[in-house]
Amino acid sequence: MSRTSLTRLVPRSRPGESRAAFGFVALDGLGLIVFVALPAILALVIGLFNVDGFGKIEFAGLHNFQLMAGDKLLWKSLGITTAFTAMFVPTAFVVSLCLALLVRKPFPGVGLVRTALFLPNVISLVVIAVMWQFLLTDKVGVVPEMLGGVGLGDVSWLGDPALALPTLAFVCVWFLMGYQMLIFLAGLQDIPGELYDAATVDGANAWQRFWGVTWPSLRPTSFFVLITSLVNALAGSLGFDLVMVLTKGGPANSTSTVVFYAYQQAFLYGRFGYAAAICGLMVAISIVITGALFALTRGGRFDES
């Protein structure tokens, strides 16, 4: 379709509508500036100072950033965050996509099933953490009791350093799968039925219909889900709230994510400048990763490929 014909199809907006649109965007933009952009810039600036949390502020130049190079625990935290992201993001993606495909078509009680799957997402993460703490209690928790039959009753899901992080990732997937399922569901319902009809007429089986129609049509939705869950895993509440309540970074620092480590540096050890420098590093990492993803997908413009 040519540009001229597209212009003809889209009605020209009236001046009042443009102002209203600007107003709506401005509010959101203001929120982003105040709560995201400014704190990110401030974190980088505070990272240049030694701040003791009691009013003493000294210019430190790049000292805090240099300290990071020799901080073994920070590097360990970065490794843990990477491992957590690698476990959580793809698993949550696959599980929520599968769920969306399962509840895509109406069947008796489909609303109930969708609601049940989404329910964990409306509960506070702290409550989720406390609940899973009970379920996973060594020996007498529901999970060890259930797994006792297959010889896994004595496994300590939160107390074993090798298992604590995967367990956290599992709880995060359980928490977020309903939300991501809804996003996928919306994407699936936007796919025109004619495409499936044409594929069926061409003799495509279920897998071929998924791979040839559903998957490419879902690319913008998949991109959104991927970016949001990635940011959530790297620097969001998932990497902090559950750790704070369930493990406090333990056992043996095995769940000490970078966000949690930065929190400890600031609020337990009073090293605000260093914590800000760590947050600056995380901002930089997030920008590089999301920037790379945007570059690879040409800004998420899948429909033009």
Partner: protein, 446 residues
């Protein structure tokens, strides 16, 4: 022209006016929640839960009495314990220059606050008689260069609590109570079953876990720093032995890798439920069990000792401190001495109420202890045992700075839960402590 609004109807202007008042009230509300006192007020932040006897019978009457006798008025603010001890609220307030005038402070944080000049000197407000009335060890951990920067509210020693029912179920009697580390592991093994661990030690990393582990290190004569406060002595036989003991409890499967509920301080979720047959916890559990499970049969015993070791425990406890950077540090100090450190018989009576009537801990003032004894508060056999057998062996909670705490915590966690080599872990921690000490210029650590 719009018609006049009917009586009781909602108009746009009315809604706007209400909204404006609402926003104004919200603004005033947030001003009122500012930490540092304004006008004639001083702010007191604490974690004493509203509705509990500690709050209703001790805190509120104390504030009411003080406010009735002084021009300066105290405003209290409750902050849940988890947030107060490990959360950002207190630290954020100090960072913003808006810390509370009076606040509760643990020994673990004392050096950091002192080094930041955030603690007001309480010495001018204390009489010599009151200073002499305090147990020397309790006051020493809040003193720098003979100046007092916090008044302790209590002493809370740790011991080993055990369940009679669990011992009976394992065919064990009082004669089997462990006195040595070897016996501790042996008895814990006998008590461990399909649904029960023999022993409960803290597993979550933090100040509290270190606090519970220190006596095991001290028993063999260990310490993380030398008396010159320049050299690290953590890489010692005593420290490695204590690390090995905690590791063995997990390796042998006699202690859980994660305690239930609130962890080591929580007897209700661990000892009472039968999850652990023995649990290391503090004297506060005596009062809690009396309140929550008066029929639960249990006993206490001193922490077992290593071969050739000395019986020791640690006594923690919170102190009240005044914010030197607040608007009224003198008034704040006056309130603290009124509450805890005056010669007035009412103050001693209040101390008894807090230490031995409402809570069950050990008074840090001799006068309070004497009054409690006269009133028969210590007649409870378990309380008696704490007083006679355990308290005399208690050392005050150390005020190691966060760098030392962190090095020890990492070593302890790695050994207890990750199977690290105890000698390597102790050597690593010792090196970190030595690096820190070589550059440390703050207040005295010991």
């Amino acid at each position: 022209m719009n018609p006049p609004p009917a009586p009781g109807s909602v108009t746009r202007r009315g809604v706007l006016r209400t909204a404006a008042w609402g926003m104004g009230a919200a603004g005033l509300g947030s001003l009122a929640s500012c930490a540092s006192g304004s006008g004639d007020d001083i702010a007191f932040w604490h974690f004493i839960v509203p509705g509990t006897p500690n709050y209703d019978k001790w805190l509120l009457p104390l504030i009411k009495d003080f406010n009735a006798r002084h021009k300066v008025k105290v405003r209290e603010r409750y902050i849940p314990f988890g947030d107060y001890a490990n959360g950002p609220t207190l630290q954020t307030a100090f960072s913003a220059g808006d810390g509370p005038d009076v606040f509760m402070l643990s020994p673990g944080d004392f050096v950091r606050y002192y080094n930041a000049n955030a603690l007001a000197d309480l010495t001018p407000h204390l009489s010599d008689a009151v200073r002499a009335d305090y147990e020397p060890a309790a006051l020493a951990s809040r003193t720098f260069n003979d100046r007092v920067y916090g008044l302790p509210m209590e002493a809370e020693p740790l011991a080993l609590f055990y369940s009679h029912k669990a011992f009976e179920a394992a065919n064990l009697s009082e004669g089997d109570l462990p006195k040595t580390w070897d016996e501790l592991l042996d008895v814990a093994q006998k008590l461990t079953g399909a649904d029960r661990f023999g022993l409960g030690l803290e597993t979550s990393p933090g100040y509290y876990q270190n606090f519970t582990w220190y006596p095991f290190m001290w028993m063999g004569g260990g310490s993380p720093i030398a008396s010159d406060q320049i050299h690290s002595t953590f890489d010692s036989k005593a420290a490695t032995a204590a690390l090995r003991l905690w590791q063995q409890t997990i390796d042998l499967g006699v202690a859980p890798t994660k305690l239930r509920g609130g962890g080591g301080t929580d007897t209700r979720s661990n000892l009472l439920t039968g999850f652990c047959a023995m649990q290391q916890t503090g004297i506060w559990a005596v009062g809690e069990m009396k309140l929550n499970a008066p029929k639960f049969e249990y006993g206490v015993l001193p922490l077992p000792t290593p071969p050739g070791g000395k019986q020791l425990t640690v006594a923690g406890g919170w102190a009240l401190a005044a914010n030197a950077k607040g608007s009224k540090p003198d008034a704040a100090a006056q309130f603290i001495t009124y509450a805890l450190g005056s010669e007035d018989p009412a103050c001693v009576k209040r101390g008894r109420l807090w230490n031995t009537v409402i809570k069950k801990n050990l008074p840090v003032r001799k006068s309070v202890r004497d009054l409690a004894r006269r009133k028969g508060d210590f007649d409870d056999p378990i309380y008696q045992q704490f007083l006679k057998d355990i308290a005399p062996t208690a050392k005050g909670e150390p005020r190691y700075p966060v760098e030392i705490y962190r090095a020890i915590s990492d070593a302890l966690q790695a050994c207890q839960l990750d199977g690290a080599n105890v000698k390597d872990a102790a050597a690593d921690a010792s090196e970190q402590i030595a690096t820190f000490l070589s550059d440390y210029k703050g207040g005295s650590i010991l």
